[in-house]
Symmetry: C2
Subunit: 302 residues, 2 copies
């Protein structure tokens, strides 16, 4: 690539070779950006928040930060360079932006044909493309889990309750259906109970899907007599793990409980957890299981 | 099978060999049961409605009929035999019954272990099992479309608008995703636009999925600027075509229009239409396409 690459040395790093550059946290919504900033600073690394206007919360404003528009690619690059960042992490949830209502700045305008192309595909396509744009500008895109492995779901149950044999059969079936859907960039989450997949996640997201299951119980459309059903989440097969891992947090547990489910199963090592202690506390309070499935050892339980 | 098989000759058929037995229409909700009854009587065949209590409407009460409980397998058999039926058709939508809140009669009680087994799987499993139960009692289960082929979606567009190249690419992608999901008994309907699958149908049904898309447009979660997107429906690969074909009707068109979609694509010859004239009128009024895809000639448009 022939683009100019800004020196990684920023004002804070001085001349010390061992001194790492501040970690640039391109922050969307939710609690993950703060969890990551805490983890990085606990390791002695400085952070600089690149907070997406209208999306990120105020949490990261306790750290050095800049507010940037999601369409303002040039402003993001400039703020990151000025802060001396070389490593960037995308974290937090994004509402898929509408290119035509976002005010693009001049640099983004230059990239519009490329961005328009990205928007034509699904999320995978979009996110991988955005990663490429940053890398071409000389930045290194890190995965949140490489910076803070403690955010990753471990193998096995976090909760006191564990899935029983029927739950394991359900989980295996949902994971198989997700693998089949993998090439189609949809269906990262499913709800299954008594061997029947009753909900598949689309653009509404995991929370929307769980709210639907709760509503179907109330309306009688879903006639499950007792606590039954599992929320199963898995990354898509070719997902860029640096920018779009599945995630669960306390709200996921609350919504799964409200939908009358028995538990939550995710892929260990490929799922981010926000506030793990709170996840455990809520799961135990509601009597739900929360389990990390070892995808490398997955067997057919049927 | 050693079960007693009742003679097909009923009171109405007399001794005439060519005189067909009345068609037993096991009727659920919606407009299909009446459409089928009209089609059968237009062909000169008598019908007897076996109307599911709490589910079927009053439309069929203009024909000879009996009201029967959905769990009352014995009562259904008895009413069908008394009416002289040998051929039965399942038609209309069923809300999946809850075995434990339905009052089963004595014959159903005898079948409870079998019925409980059926309920453990998905819809395919359930419906195929019910078909088997009736056949073992000496009845013949016909498909609605064999009695009234005019209820089947033909190849090509019904509407004035036709899908453009981008719509065809979307439709092919959704059909491929459905084929991949086929073995998992879910996802008979999808909404896709600009190459992105945004909704997958689960237990909420097609109407529920379309309402979700409309809500996602309003909330801004789905940022489609103009009329975009197609509702695609297809039967599951191993679906019993006698009892559970996908169906569309005027309400489907209204809900697709409310969700801001451009059209509806279904598999020709494998989709039932209720009130085709009304489907066409509404599609043309809203400017939607409604098209039957020839699955045997389906090509990759990308």
């Amino acid at each position: 690539m022939s683009e100019t690459v800004t020196s990684p040395a920023g004002p804070e790093t001085g001349a010390g070779q061992a001194e790492p550059t501040p970690l640039g946290i391109i922050a969307g919504a939710g609690a993950f950006p703060l969890a990551l900033a805490k983890a990085a600073t606990a390791q002695g690394r400085a952070v600089h928040g690149l907070l997406l206007k209208g999306i990120a919360g105020q949490d990261l404003t306790v750290y050095p930060h800049s507010w940037v528009g999601i369409g303002q690619f040039g402003a993001i690059l400039k703020a990151a360079r000025r802060a001396g960042c070389r490593d960037l992490v995308f974290i937090g949830s994004l509402v898929r932006p509408n290119l035509w209502t976002t005010m693009p700045d001049l640099v983004a305008l230059k990239h519009i044909p490329e961005m328009a192309r990205l928007y034509r595909g699904g999320d995978d396509h979009l996110l991988r493309g955005v990663a490429r744009l940053f890398e071409r500008q000389g930045f290194r895109l890190l995965a949140a889990q490489d910076v803070a492995p403690e955010l990753l779901m471990p193998v096995g149950p976090l909760s006191r309750r564990v899935p029983d044999h029927e739950d394991l059969v359900d989980i295996a079936q949902a994971l198989a259906a997700m693998r089949a859907l993998g090439p189609y960039d949809v269906g990262q989450g499913m709800v299954i109970g008594a061997k029947r997949i009753v909900a598949v996640e689309g653009a509404e997201g995991t929370d929307g899907m769980l709210e639907r299951c709760a509503a179907m119980r109330v309306s009688g459309r879903l006639k499950w007599g007792k606590a039954i059903g599992t929320l199963v989440k898995a990354p898509k097969p070719n997902q860029d793990r640096r920018i779009d891992l599945p995630a669960i947090g306390p709200a996921t547990v609350e919504k799964a409980a409200a939908a009358g489910l028995r538990g939550i199963a995710v892929i260990a090592g490929s799922t981010l957890m926000v506030e793990p202690q709170e996840i455990i506390r809520l799961a135990d309070r509601h009597g739900l299981f929360v389990v990390g499935v070892d995808a490398t050892r997955e067997v057919d339980h049927d």
